[in-house]
């Protein structure tokens, strides 16, 4: 008799089975109850001892585990059936002695949710076709700094002209440039959480940076709103009620998919009649 080295990791139960291939009934009994296995299978001639992890109940490891005989791998495979063996091999402890592999079968593999994994990621915007970014037609606005009325775009719009959902990642800046003798500097403002970060001024020219990421449905649009805040001149340059300041609004995209076309400049007008 050859004893197998190595202590089992889980509760085990020693049983005797016939060396002939096991039947489906025997396999079911293995899964169901260790005690039943022993009662039903010890009648067999030419017995072979196997040690199995006790399914569904604890066993006395110290007593049962070492009372074993070596068996061939073929016998184990016949007894368990190829299917069960395949599943359980991940938790089987093998010990190589005398050129054979002895396995204990234990129910201890943690269950995890089965999922279907998509092998290839959805195409990004760059490969999806054309997407447009544009300023909507100027409409009535109120500049928050001086509570002045005017007209200008309410934000910028991203339009997906393709037939598939597009993930857009844009960064760049919006530049407000006077086109006449103006009396205010204009900064872009936006509701929180804002995609706009810093505004820098060069004379009366303002540059506001932004970063935007979002998903645009197939054939749909996303509007990114913003507003304006004006800081008016004082003293002799203080605006008069008859003054009308005009600005050009442009966008420079520093990071965009190649398929995205940037907006044509828009206009911003500030009136001081109130």
């Amino acid at each position: 008799m050859q004893k197998v080295a190595g202590a089992p990791r889980a509760a085990a139960h020693s049983v005797q089975v016939c060396s002939a291939p096991a039947t489906a009934t025997a396999l079911t009994q293995v899964r169901g109850s260790c005690g039943k296995i022993k009662q039903n299978l010890t009648k067999s001639c030419n017995p072979i001892d196997l040690t199995f992890g006790c399914v569904g109940k604890s066993g006395n490891v110290a007593t049962n585990a070492l009372n074993t005989h070596p068996v061939s791998e073929a016998a184990v495979e016949n007894f368990l059936g190829a299917q069960l063996s395949e599943v359980l091999n991940a938790e089987v402890t093998s010990s190589e002695e005398g050129g054979f592999s002895r396995r204990r079968v234990v129910k201890g593999v943690a269950w995890s949710v089965p999922v279907i994994v998509t092998a290839i990621a959805a195409p990004a915007a760059a490969a999806s076709g054309v997407t447009e970014v544009y300023f909507p037609v100027p409409a009535a606005i109120t500049l928050s700094g001086g509570n002045r009325p005017g007209t200008g775009p309410s934000g910028f719009t991203i339009k997906n002209t393709t037939g598939a959902q597009v993930t857009v990642s844009l960064s760049g800046s919006i530049i407000v440039t006077p086109t006449n003798a103006v009396h205010s500097t204009i900064a872009i403002t936006a509701p929180a959480p804002s995609i706009f970060s810093t505004t820098t001024f060069n004379g009366k020219i303002s540059t506001t940076t932004f970063t935007y990421a979002g998903v645009v449905p197939a054939g749909g649009t996303i509007h990114v709103p913003f507003g304006f805040r004006n800081t008016e001149d004082t003293g002799s340059n203080k605006p008069k009620k008859t003054d009308v300041d005009e600005y050009s609004l442009s966008m420079v995209l520093s990071n965009k998919p190649l398929s995205i076309t940037g907006p044509t400049p828009s206009s911003l007008i500030v009136k001081y009649q109130v």
Binding site: K107, A110, W111, S112, V113, P114, V115, I116, I120
Partner: protein, 100 residues
């Protein structure tokens, strides 16, 4: 132990290409009408192996319950949902309804 009473038998889809690696228990599937393949790993791959056109859902579940420790008790619903997902993607199809 809760076992579904629906004796549905599933088999692999007829219009399917599959590649598998035994060492990592992973199988890649591509339905001929699909634009991209999917991959099954771990328990998903094990269930795939148990879908043979002969086992009922109950038999598949019994095999899994004998092999895995499901402490959360979610196995049955998760397996049913997984099989439904496979069927929705035409990766499996009913082989028939077993007599009770």
């Amino acid at each position: 132990m809760i076992i579904s009473s629906t004796p549905v038998v599933w088999r692999h889809g007829a219009y399917l290409a599959q590649v598998r690696t035994r060492s990592t228990n992973r199988v890649a599937l591509l339905h001929l009408d699909a634009s991209q393949p999917v991959v099954l790993e771990g328990t998903a791959s094990t269930i795939w192996d148990l879908i043979d056109g002969r086992r009922t859902e109950q038999a598949i579940l019994l095999s899994l319950q004998a092999s895995f420790e499901d402490q959360a008790g979610q196995m049955q619903s998760q397996v049913e949902a997984f099989l439904a997902s496979l069927a929705a993607q035409q990766l499996i199809e009913p082989a028939g309804v077993a007599s009770q």
